[in-house]
Symmetry: C2
Subunit: 440 residues, 2 copies
């Protein structure tokens, strides 16, 4: 791969070794950050195959979306403002049953187009037809952590495990390590203990991390207490899940004891503030989790409950909510929020050397245009990123040393075609659901 | 003024008489909506001086920002994540004391540029040097409700009343009614009862509405209970404030009794969810207020505590927060949120026939491009506006029948110059504060 030099940009490294923002240069060689100059226009242009002028550009690490179901873009604004049970039983599940690999491919492509345009360079995904997701990831150039969602009931239980095993064999480490496969037991309430034990055994055998939904809603916790006399987190702890690398999504309704169990086992959390609010699930106590040393990343969840995949908005919401709920404006400050959306998010997905502008780290970075009214004046670029910036400010995106967005334009994807195909798939799905309901 | 026809657009009227979205035409004559066709390409082009193709454009009423301090854009990301007292006493007040009319003019221009680009067509403002604010409003073409912020202590008390009186004489009803002047007693804790009585008397004499901050923080309410044995809302109710038209900003810490007092007197509320979270003030119980029949609009507050003036983001936050806090996803649905940001917001500012696409209403409307990944597919345009759209989707803005933004470009303002001048003012202010602190 080529050497790319970004010259004279405003760098926000998100690196405790370089806490300040400064005008400088970044040299990328292959898929790594090779050099950083702390003064602008210092690194020689002759060292690079391509030079990008960083004027009016904030360069910062790419955003890491730690939880979602990418192809649910097809159900964006399809069903809103409904009680959770109705939303799932009358809208989402009946339409999901018509999904094909083709839908998943185009829905995921749509998600990737949106995410890249908004500065996301890595996303975690848990859904079905994961081979189609992996193909979209491979073609687009984005980095991903993928798991086949596992439900532990009926025929689908064994099928899911087999598909996971094949998916690891076929795709883990593909594209020079850009594609990571993990195990995806959906949740304790959809994966009974006996099944979870099988998944845990597979984690031991394959040495792959796990993604799981934990304690998303109050009723989930109440049901677990009634059935097992344990919270969902106590339950999976006792089963030995936390003896492996785990990214726990949501963790909205967690006790101090739950938090202590997670912190003691280095369980990471994917915080999805927008989705948790929109579905009426509640607000996760992330300030407490962070204080306990838990690595908390940020996720958008699926577009059916968000309804966009805008990580800047999600990062801002994480910071604002933590302050507002505790009535303490010092909690989750701008630096912490940006860390959660970058380096901490990468750690929460067990990715190494990712989410920082530091020599030797993965060359996953983004550039935002700051010559815009809503980013003027420029008292504090880091605070701007968290509290004032927007997805549309993202002008440049690099993943694994490759430019995927330049001057706001996608380089590897045909945006028009993706929107048309995703629209076609969404239309077909709505029609299929209606036809089936008409038959009944 | 000219007749403008928007043909074949996707209309979201926010009008209970036309609850559905449809492809249609809108004809604007002078500063009013003259005709709406409920089928696309129906109104004849010959009826208009200018025809705008509405293809891939959602047309909806302009957004109404019901509370803010526009020129505080100069302090955007100047001080964040601080305890409220330190933030005010060590950062905001000491820099505000160096403000001049020139700063206010350019800070307000910056705010207007940002607001127009994000689809805001009306804003409420309470600050100082209001003649400079009115000039910026006049030049830009935006609609505004302006009040000179009144503090009831010392010399500034009488000065403020005099300036208010002159401001009404000079500017109320100016620009064909685009500029509205109201009275701006800052808050009960900065306006003692004797002073508030004078302001109330002036409201009676001038028949102008009032804007006031009420019950923004917990400590404000506690202090009021200690000093007066009344909540701030009970206090101003007893003083007779609510016998006039009042827009009460914040109302975060309100009792059921407070809500009943406000509802009984048709007091309107300006809800500022982002600012309230960021400053750690808390979360206003807007679902309860709306259920009591209170007209709740949405505001951004100043950019120093937000840190942008993005009304789409603010509208989304209002809907999401109400659901999340009450753990009820049916509260503040997309339609209600959009109403709050448009028609209800206009009513909360006592503006008539504003905030709706309806024949005879003010021609304040916006167009958003929907051929974008994050707005694909198009299951529900209204839900898209609230849950998925972004300020940068705004492509067209009309205020009072005049196009102020076309194809995303400001028509009446020199964006580059405004950013440069605002940057200059911000730099000067920071320097002046530092120099004064150095002297001490």
């Amino acid at each position: 791969m080529a050497k790319i030099l970004i010259r004279g940009a405003l760098l926000v490294p998100v690196d405790e070794k370089r806490p300040d923002c400064f005008y400088g240069d970044v040299l990328i060689a292959d898929n790594r950050i090779a050099a950083i100059a702390e003064r602008p226009d210092t690194l020689e242009e002759s060292r690079a195959d391509q030079v990008i002028k960083g004027e009016k550009l904030i360069i910062t690490p790419g955003l890491v979306n730690t939880h979602g179901h990418a192809a649910m873009t097809l159900f964006r604004s399809y069903a809103d403002d409904m009680p959770l049970k109705d939303w799932l039983e009358r809208k989402i599940w009946p339409i999901e049953e018509h999904l094909t690999g083709d839908d998943i491919y185009w829905g995921t492509m749509l998600a990737i187009a949106e995410m890249l345009k908004g500065g996301t360079t890595t996303f975690a995904d848990m859904y079905f037809f994961m081979e189609s997701v992996a193909e979209a990831v491979a073609e687009s150039g984005i980095r991903a952590v993928l798991s086949r969602g596992l439900i532990g009931f009926g025929d689908s239980a064994e099928k899911g495990l087999k598909e996971t095993s094949a998916f690891i064999d076929n795709w883990h480490g593909a594209e020079g390590g850009r594609i990571n496969v993990t195990l995806g037991p959906h949740a304790p309430y959809t994966c009974p203990p006996a099944f979870l034990k099988k998944v845990i055994a597979m984690a031991g055998k394959t040495d792959r991390p796990l993604q799981i939904h934990l304690s998303e809603t109050k009723s989930e916790v109440e049901d677990s207490m009634r059935e097992h006399n344990k919270s969902p987190i106590e339950l999976v702890y006792d089963l030995g899940l936390f003896d492996h690398k785990v990214t726990a999504a949501h963790c909205v309704h967690v006790s101090d004891h739950d938090i202590a169990l997670m912190a003691g086992k280095n369980v990471a959390v994917a915080h999805n503030p927008g989705s948790n609010l929109k579905l009426g699930s509640g607000i996760a106590p992330i300030a407490k989790m962070l204080q306990s040393g838990i690595k908390v990343g940020i996720g958008t969840d699926g577009a059916s409950s968000n309804n966009n995949l805008d990580m800047i908005e999600e990062m801002r919401l994480a910071a604002l909510l933590a302050k507002g709920v505790a009535m303490d404006p010092t909690l989750v400050n701008a630096r912490t929020a940006l860390q959660m959306a970058t380096a901490l998010g990468a750690e929460a997905l067990f990715l190494e050397n990712t989410g920082m502008l530091r020599e030797g780290c993965q060359a996953d970075l983004i550039g935002l245009k700051y010559d815009r009214p809503h980013l003027t004046p420029l008292h504090d670029p880091l605070a701007h990123l968290v509290y004032a910036a927007a997805a549309a400010d993202v002008d440049l995106v690099m993943v694994d040393g490759r430019l995927l967005l330049e001057r706001g334009e996608l380089k590897t994807l045909d945006e028009e075609k993706i929107m048309a195909e995703a629209g076609r798939c969404a239309g077909r799905l709505v029609k299929a659901k209606k036809e089936k309901e008409g038959e009944v």
